[in-house]
């Protein structure tokens, strides 16, 4: 036995040592990359720049080595490593062994570092022959960020720390709420979003440092921002879905500080994606765009800080650790650096044009930005309010769900209106005639829709009814844009309607991809408004054979069932579901007991009806000898929220998809500019 223990200890030391050494190597390479790229930028030293780029890619390889070491340790149940002992057990199914990588604080920092070095390496590769003047500074900023996170992972909060004391025979297991398929995708998607915002930030700083920014720079920044923004959006929806099916209170968003931490950079990113169009078209809002790009990255760091510092009460946050203050320091550095760069280069960022009319696309984008940032600010205020109030008054105060919902409606409804107005309004100036022509059908449809919905009884919630009417408005505008655009395309090029549509989208990816994203927003709003304003809830204690009513459904308790999974046992209540006398199957909400983790979790059951468009949601609140307590909810249209995620992804993909025509034009332009000198 002692030899086995010793043997295990020695074997595990090897992996942990390699992992720790790999992280130290990442730090060394990041330091080199940062310093070398600065020198290369100042001296225009091509070789040194190549060396710095290689160092970045080497850092990625070394990070992957550390990840591999940790994954192998997890799968091999190496309980000499603290994170393995604290977040896994021998009974844990293998997929969750792997995802336990990011269940812990040090592991999630390693994930941050992996995505950062990976994204940075991709940037090095993409720009091996482009943006030559900018790349040293892009590399320096990315390298600096890598230095910070590598220091955290290697020296402050290492995933390879050993357990203190004796090596346990088994681990304490993974939090049962994390043993869910959505937890496999949610953190990586979220981190892809958070971390990738570093790239547009680095490009923006490089442009300020060199005083150069051309179309190619703009395309790089835009594409990376779209990618980060899309990932963050998908990450949030995956998290919402996980909360809906796993946490089991019947909702999907609780305005928890950590949820808000992801929403804020997403809102700032949305603002940027719109205002950058104004910069491209009119050469305006240059300063504003730099502020937005820096602000988005800063909000990402803030989000990372909020998850780790324990400074605000949240069901998600990790315990207080030294990583928190360090992140705050890094955030301060990011803000100070970007402000200094901006102030230094202010003269270069003069607007080329002026805003001529308030009834124009530029103006609608400006209003959209104001609303988005106001909403982000309201959320930020709500999140840090407890900290602020404590420092001012000595006692903590908090705002809760009604606060956030108020601003969601106050800013969200005008934003929704702008989603429909913006695309149909002309650049520079819209005339009353053109406004009437473009908006008469959407407005008429929205009013008619509102009247109809009101008659159907949806007037009980004015906010809900307004939201639905605006959704009709936006949907009609999107439909008209596609129809008119396709007709115009067909008038030029002939061919069939489907062909013309494909051609239209292909030639205007950003515009029509954007419209698809707007459609996703419509679906999202319908889902949120319907489930938020028109849902119902009922709670009852039932003996066998007894029934309860909810939203037209009848639930009849039939008895308890027991089942066993790999690392848990489940007790479930069988409920027969019927509606208007006809049977719709059964629901089995249960409670699952995890002996190793010493936890009991709620496992809700959901019956989704696509014909009725609602979810029947059942929670087993309590079990006694001869009865069960059931809480049932009817959530209308929730499935639309998940459908919105898919449509959103489709729209984002269309906008990101590289246009070979655009690439060729940029290359030609650059070649022409240089060829004449020869």
């Amino acid at each position: 036995m002692p030899e086995q223990v010793l043997g295990r200890r020695r074997g595990s030391l090897t992996l942990a040592t390699i992992g720790s050494a790999a992280l130290l190597l990442v730090l060394a390479l990041a330091l080199y990359a940062t310093g070398a790229s600065v020198v290369a930028g100042l001296n225009r030293d091509r070789r040194l720049m190549r060396s710095a780029a290689n160092a970045v890619m080497g850092a990625f390889a070394a990070t992957l080595l550390a990840v591999l070491a940790l994954l192998v340790s997890l799968v091999r149940h190496d309980f000499s490593i603290a994170v393995v002992a604290q977040h896994t057990s021998r009974e844990l199914p293998t997929p969750y062994l792997l995802t336990a990588l990011w269940a812990s604080q040090p592991g999630s920092l390693l994930l941050w570092l992996t995505v950062l070095t990976g994204a940075s390496s991709l940037v090095m590769y993409q720009n091996r022959r482009r943006n030559r003047e900018l790349m040293p500074w892009v590399t320096a900023v990315l390298g600096g960020t890598m230095v910070f996170f590598a220091t955290m992972a290697a020296l402050v909060s290492s995933p390879f720390e050993h357990v203190s004391g004796a090596i346990p025979a088994d681990g304490t297991g993974l939090d049962p709420s994390l043993q869910n398929p959505y937890m496999i995708a949610h953190p990586p998607a979220l981190y892809l979003g958070y971390v990738s915002f570093a790239v547009p930030f680095a490009f923006a700083m490089a442009a300020l440092i060199t005083g150069r920014a051309d179309a190619r720079w703009m395309a790089s920044v835009r594409r990376w921002t779209l990618f980060a923004w899309a990932s963050l959006g998908v990450g949030m929806l995956l998290g919402a879905h996980w909360a809906y099916v796993e946490i089991g209170w019947g909702g999907y968003w609780a305005w928890d500080p950590v949820e808000n931490a992801a929403l804020m950079p997403w809102l700032a990113g949305t603002a940027y994606l719109h205002s950058v169009m104004v910069q491209e078209k009119k050469g305006m809002l240059k300063v504003w765009n730099v502020v937005l790009v820096s602000g988005t990255f800063a909000l990402s760091i803030l989000g990372t800080f909020l998850t780790r510092s324990g400074v605000v009460n949240s069901i998600h946050s990790f315990v207080q650790s030294p990583v928190g203050p360090a992140l705050l320091g890094f955030l301060a550095l990011v803000l100070a650096f970007s402000t200094a760069m901006l102030v230094w280069r202010l003269p270069l960022l003069r607007s080329e044009h002026r805003l001529e009319s308030l009834v124009s696309r530029e103006a609608s984008f400006l209003f959209n930005n104001l609303l988005l940032l106001a909403f982000a600010f309201a959320i930020l205020w709500g999140v840090i309010f407890p900290v602020l109030s404590e420092s001012v008054r000595g006692i903590r105060s908090t705002v809760s769900v009604p606060y956030y919902n108020f601003f969601l409606v106050a800013f969200g409804l005008p934003l929704l209106a702008l989603t429909g107005i913006g695309p149909l309004i002309a650049w520079r100036r819209a005339t009353p005639g053109s406004l009437w022509r473009m908006f008469r059908w959407p407005v008429v449809s929205a009013l008619a829709g509102a009247a109809l919905l009101g008659l159907l009884g949806l007037g009980s919630s004015p906010a809900g009814l307004t939201a639905f009417s605006l959704c009709i408005f936006v949907s009609v505008t999107i439909g008209l844009e596609f129809a008119r655009g396709t007709a115009a395309r067909r008038a030029i090029a002939g061919g069939s309607w489907p062909r013309a549509l494909v051609d239209l989208v292909s030639r205007n990816r950003r515009r029509y991809g954007g419209y698809v994203v707007h459609l996703a927003v419509v679906l999202l709003v319908v889902g949120i408004a319907a489930s938020g304003a028109y849902g119902s809830v009922n709670e009852a204690t039932l003996k066998r054979g007894q029934s309860m009513e909810i939203g037209g459904y009848t639930l009849t308790y039939q008895g308890l069932t027991q089942s066993r999974q790999a690392n848990s046992t489940e007790t479930a209540a069988r409920l027969a579901v019927s509606r208007d006398g006809s049977s719709l199957g059964t629901l089995s909400p249960g409670q699952r007991s995890y002996p190793i983790e010493d936890r009991v979790t709620n496992e809700v059951d959901i019956h989704t009806s696509f014909t009725r468009g609602d979810d029947l949601y059942a929670i087993l609140q309590g079990v006694s000898r001869d009865s069960v307590t059931i809480k049932a909810l009817v959530n209308p249209m929730v499935s639309l929220i998940w459908l919105a995620g898919i449509v959103f992804l489709l729209g984002a993909a269309i906008t990101i998809w590289p246009d070979p025509r655009e690439a060729r034009q940029l290359a030609r332009r650059y070649a022409t500019a240089l060829a004449k000198e020869a």
Partner: protein, 136 residues
């Protein structure tokens, strides 16, 4: 930018902030208190609806792990030996709830008891990435 659009934009920003401030003033905010602060009646905590934080040390007549409403738990202050009984009469209980866990619960004092609002119990799992929420 010409003067008129600039004016309108400034007014828009001002109105947005006004909406915000009006809301804050009208609805106020909720205090977050520890057991000690509640007992001391700091800032009128004893007569308002507040968020109470503390560690659940025991549950009356039942085991905390897997407890179902209605039940009463004893919440202890993190920085002092003060305790307060909390009556949780209805609502869901988070999966992570058990004795020794740090909790947050919303409600108000009635006599010597803290009466919790339904579905307001939230549990935090220290040193783990936890999804232990039970309230919305």
């Amino acid at each position: 930018m010409t003067a008129r659009p600039r004016l309108v934009i400034a007014l828009s920003v001002a109105s947005l902030l006004a909406v915000f401030l009006v809301y804050q003033l009208a609805h106020g905010s909720q205090l977050i208190v520890t057991v000690a602060q509640l007992r001391a009646g700091q800032d009128g905590a004893a007569s308002k609806t507040v968020q109470l934080t503390g560690t659940a040390v025991s549950c009356v007549g039942t085991s905390c792990s897997g407890a179902q409403a209605p039940f009463t738990m004893v919440l202890k202050d993190d920085g002092s030996p003060q305790t307060v009984p909390v009556a949780y009469d209805s609502g869901s209980v988070p999966d992570a709830f058990r004795a020794g866990r740090h909790v947050i619960v919303t409600g108000h004092m009635v006599g010597d008891h803290f009466v919790a609002n339904p579905d307001s119990l939230v549990t935090k799992c220290p040193s783990k990435y936890s999804g232990g929420g039970g309230g919305a």
